[in-house]
Structures are given as C-alpha cells and as structure tokens.
C-alpha cells in the first residue's frame, strides 16, 4: 500500500464509490461527509490518482480532474471497478443496529416504522441469528405521549404537559414550547422552553402523562442547551450541603450532581451536593433515611425531620383507625 495508511484505505474504499454516485461533488461537502478536512480530502484524491488497475498505464489509473478540484469540485473517472463500498465490519454493523434499537424506543409514530424497518433490513443483510447479542432499552414513557410531542415539535406547536415531576410528588401542568426529544443515561427526555419559568427545562418522558395542544405556535428562544449539562447547574441560589453516607447510600454519588467525594473510615463516603430545590432535597433525605449519618449544615435537614415526624403521626393515626396490627 506504500504511502497509504490503515485509516486512509477504508476511507478511500468508500470515497471512490461515493464520488461515482455523486458526480461533480462539492469538496467541502464531501469532506464533511467523511469527517476530514478539505485538505486531507485533497491528499486522499492525490493518493487515488496513483491507484488503479494492475499494469499502471495511463488508461489504467483512476483520474481526478485537478482543474475542477482547484474550484472545489471533484470529478473522478476511470474508477468503475470500485463501484460499491466495502462491506460493513461486524463492529460497524452492530454499532448502527444498536443505535437504531435506541432510536426505536424513542421515536414517535411518524419515525418509528422507518427505524424498525431500517434495522430489520440491516439485520437481514449482516446479522442472521447472532444479531441480538447486543441490545438496549430506554425508559421512554408511553408511545402516545412521544407521538404527540414528536408531532408538536414538527408542527412548531406549544403544548401543556401534565407532568409528574419527582421533586414535588404532585402533578404540575407546565406550558412549554417543545424542541427536542433525546436520551441520556437510558431515560428519554423532552427539552422544551418553559413559558412560566422563561427558561429551558428538561422533562423525563416517562413522567409526562398527557400532552395537550394550546393552539399557540412556539416562540423563538435561540438554541436549546445540550441535554448533557446538568440542569441544576443553571439555577440560582444554589446551596452546598455535605452528607456522610453509609454504603447503602453511596449510590447517590453516581446519580446526583456531586461536587466532591471523599472516602472516610468505616465505609463512610462524604459527598458535597449542590442543592437548588429544597423540596427535592427534603425528599432525597427522606429517601436516604438511615443511610445518612451526618448532614452539614444541620439546618439543611430540618425540613426533612419535620416531614418525617408528620408522616409518622399521620401513619399512627391512620393505622390505629384502620385497626392494622402495627404495634
């Protein structure tokens, strides 16, 4: 192969059929399709120029129109013997098939059939029986909710959500301009402009129980933030709270935005959290319960302690009345 490399050859083997299928292709467009700079693409074309049928005579080599290339157009001739790209490697086929599986879980009714049939065709061509070896599921909520959101995004329609947010334990009905469905860590999310907050918000799809159109069109709010950024980050009035956690509470370090983690003696993890929503933090402390050995500052736990007292009293009164043998 002489001057060509292990990265370049697979690209060249795809580039030639691409250029045959796209006569007079634009240099910049082609470069972005192959994820290289225009300069690298020109270097690729110069390598191709020396490639061709055994014999190496003038009529046997691939020809690149260098004058057209100066003007940013690619014209390739004498390359018909490379009319089709190379087969997928097993890794390439599987990467695409698993990605389609992830899309399938999320896609609305308008896209889902195409995702499914594209995957079926790929599997038939490359996989056979072995193809189920890698699989993925996403908690993406109910199909009618996803469909309604996908349609509203496509139509640019504002919607009112019925949302069972985790923080409060009660349903809210935010009025939003929906812009994008995405996934992160196995959960499906809607990114939308929350009109009452005047800010971008993400909503877990499985917690949206109803979507109703308001008749309004969506407004222009600039680009939506990427899903990756933690949504606690952009809230004001953030308080740092440090928790000492027994092993059965260590899981929060993986699941919550944690600034700092220290491992202490006797299996204790000291984690510093940034708390933006007191209601959410109260519930988190209630959930952790005996897994928490210390809260700093102690005042941060006051509302959770009060809530626990109230819950115990309510339970005592109720189970006493219902005659349950709790004592």
């Amino acid at each position: 192969m002489g001057m060509t490399s292990a990265v370049q050859v697979p690209r060249l083997l795809a580039l030639v059929p691409y250029l045959i299928a796209h006569p007079d292709a634009d240099l910049a467009t082609t470069a972005s399709v192959f994820g290289v700079t225009p300069r690298q693409l020109v270097a690729d074309l110069k390598v191709l120029w020396f490639c061709g049928l055994p014999g190496g005579g003038p009529g046997d080599l691939i020809e690149v129109d260098m004058d057209a290339l100066e003007e940013g157009r690619i014209r390739l001739t004498n390359a018909d013997f490379l009319g089709r790209p190379l087969r997928f490697t097993p890794e390439e086929a599987m990467s695409l098939i698993v990605a389609l599986r992830a899309c399938e879980e999320m896609a609305g009714a308008s896209l889902a059939p195409a995702v499914r049939s594209a995957r079926a065709k790929l599997e038939a061509a490359f996989g056979g029986a072995d193809i189920a070896r890698v699989d993925i599921t996403v908690a993406a909520g109910a199909a009618p909710v996803r469909d309604a959101l996908a349609d509203a995004i496509a139509d640019g329609a504002a919607v009112r959500l019925t949302y069972h947010g985790a923080a409060r334990g009660v349903a809210t009905e935010p009025l939003v301009d929906p812009v994008q469905l995405g996934t992160r860590d196995g959960y499906g999310y809607l990114t939308a402009w929350a009109r009452d907050k005047g800010a971008w918000r993400t909503y877990r799809l499985e917690r949206i129980v109803a979507v109703a159109r308001t008749g309004d069109a969506t407004g222009e709010h600039g680009p939506a933030p990427a899903l990756a950024s933690g949504w606690l980050d952009d809230r004001g009035d953030v308080v740092a709270v440090t928790l000492d956690l027994r092993p059965d509470g260590h899981w929060i370090v993986e699941y919550l935005p944690v600034d700092d983690v220290q491992h202490r003696p006797r299996g204790i993890v000291r984690a510093r959290l940034r708390v933006a929503d007191p209601a959410w933090f109260r519930r988190m402390l209630l959930r952790l319960g005996p897994a928490v050995v210390r809260v700093d500052p102690p005042e941060a736990a006051a509302s959770a302690i009060a809530a626990a007292r109230e819950a115990l009293e309510t339970a005592r009164a109720a189970t006493g009345g219902a005659g349950e043998g709790v004592e």
Partner: protein, 300 residues
C-alpha cells in the same frame, strides 16, 4: 490500495511473485522488504474487513498459493432503504456518545452514503437520542461479544472467565450475560462493577441455551415483588399510582387506597413521599417505613 484493486479485479488466485510484478510500490522492493511489506499490507487489509482469500488455481500443484478477493464478499450488498429509513440511519449514526462506537457507526454511514444513500437531516429534526458507554470495560466486552471470544476479568473479588452471550443496556447501564466457565453456569455482570481490565482469552464459546439466556435477560428487569396496599393523599404521588389499581380499603380522610407492587426494600422509595403516602399492607413493609422515618427524626 493497489493491492486491493489488483486482487479484486483478478478472476483467479494471484501468486505472490505475480503480485510483486503487478502492484505499484512492490516492484522496486528487495526480496525481504517485499515479503515484509506484503505480509503487513495483507494483515492490515484483513483487519479492516477486506476478505482476502488464500488458495490455489491448480489442482495438480495445490502448493502454489495465491490470493484473491471475491467481489461478492467484498462489496456492501444492495439494501433497498427508502428515504425515511435512510433518515433514520442518519440519526442512528450520531447516537453513540462513545468515541469508538461513534467512529464505527460513522464509518458505516459513510459506506451507505458511498452506495448512493443521502440521509435527509430535516426529516428527523428535533430527535436526538444518545447512548453512552462510559464503563471502562465496555470496549473489550463489545469485542468479546461480537467475535465471540472468551473474556476474563475480576468481579466481586473473584477472577472469572466468561463465554459471552449478551451485552445489554438497561436504563443507561450495561450488563454482560454469559457462562461463568469456572462455575459452569450463566451469570449477569454489571459492567461498571467489573474490577479489572477485561482481556480476551483463548477457548471456545459454545452456543447458549436460548431459554437460559432469556431467563437471565428477564432477571435484569426491575423486580416489583410484593403486593402492597398504600393510602395516597388525593393528587399526590402520581408516579406511584399511575399503573395502580384503586381498592376499597379504609383510608384516612383525603386519602385513597391503591394496590401496588413494590420491591421488598421500598422503604426509602415510600419515605420519599413523606406524609402523602401511608402503607396499609403488609404490616412488615409499614414497619420498615416507620423505622426508616424514625431514623430521620433521630437526626434532630
């Protein structure tokens, strides 16, 4: 590159000596340099998926080994994707939030584009799923499952050799299911808990019993075991009662009773709702929730 074209165009196996004459770049090399370069090129091409066959044209002299690439093994088969399917493939190629898998999916899409498909991004605007694979062990396990090859790693303080069956993502976490060779039975492993860098090891990977595999796959689903009755304050805890059945049990004023299935260790999950949710049945669960809340009160 020229070696590929030469072997692809050949109708018969081409011997080494002939290749050395035919392929630009081999002609001027010394004997030793040619051997070295040819071997390296051949292995590199095979590694990138170019199917180079070895064989002989002669029945009488089968030792005269040559090489060829069969066009039908080399070329991407024609698959008839319509415009919507092509758009879906376009999104799929951007789904991986993992450099290696993203590169593979991108290379696959480049091949599809090379076969004349042009995904229309506008069709799928507003749709951007991602799949992560941040577990350090993932890369090797992916390879092990695809080959398939046995793989060795440490898990829960034990060195294990696994015949991999499945690599599954469940709500964001990857799991490996396979035969634990030392124990002689199927096991599930959470990939993030694998405690050493996994390594591919020699040994056969036998076909798995589909029923055993299915049982392990099913075991990864969240266990919602104990049937319980809870009283929920009207309008509160909608996520808890969304799939629940309303029952006629006695509930305090302003509460309604619901039958739900809860994991045995649901105390924390229920304490989360504070005074909005009370456990009516079973009494054991009510006790653990009470103990849990008392631990919170004890902080004061």
């Amino acid at each position: 590159m020229n070696l590929t074209i030469c072997l692809l165009m050949a109708r018969r196996f081409v011997e080494r000596a002939r290749l050395r004459e035919l392929v630009d770049g081999y002609r001027d090399l010394s004997d030793a340099a040619f051997e070295r370069t040819f071997e390296r090129d051949k292995e590199e091409l095979r590694a990138m998926g170019v199917p180079i066959e070895t064989g002989s044209n002669s029945v009488l002299f089968p030792d005269e080994v040559g090489y060829r690439i069969r066009r039908r093994d080399f070329e991407l088969p024609e698959i008839d994707f319509d415009a919507a399917e092509t758009a879906a493939l376009g999104v799929a190629s951007t789904v991986w939030d993992d450099a290696s898998r993203g590169r593979e999916a991108g290379a696959a899409l480049a091949k599809l584009r090379a076969s004349g498909l042009d995904p229309d991004a506008d069709r799928v605007a507003g749709f951007a799923p991602t799949v992560g694979a941040r577990e350090p062990a993932f890369e090797t396990l992916w390879e092990a499952v695809l080959r398939p090859s046995r793989v060795a790693f440490r898990y829960r303080d034990r060195e294990r050799v696994i015949e991999p069956w499945r690599l599954l993502n469940r709500t964001g976490s990857w799991y490996l299911i396979g035969l634990d060779v030392g124990r002689g039975e199927g096991r599930s492993f959470k990939v993030s808990r694998i405690a050493s860098a996994p390594a591919l090891v020699a040994g056969e990977v036998r076909p798995a019993d589909p029923e055993v595999v299915a049982a392990h796959v099913a075991s990864l689903r969240p266990r919602r075991g104990i049937e319980s009755v809870v009283a929920v304050r009207e309008g509160a805890a909608p996520d808890l009662v969304r799939f629940a059945e309303r029952v006629g049990a006695d509930a305090p004023e302003g509460f309604a009773a619901w039958r739900v299935r809860l994991p045995a260790n649901a105390a924390g999950e229920l304490a989360w709702y504070g005074a909005d949710v009370l456990v009516l049945e079973p009494a054991t669960l009510a006790d653990t929730v009470r103990a849990h809340l008392e631990a919170v009160v004890a902080w004061a």
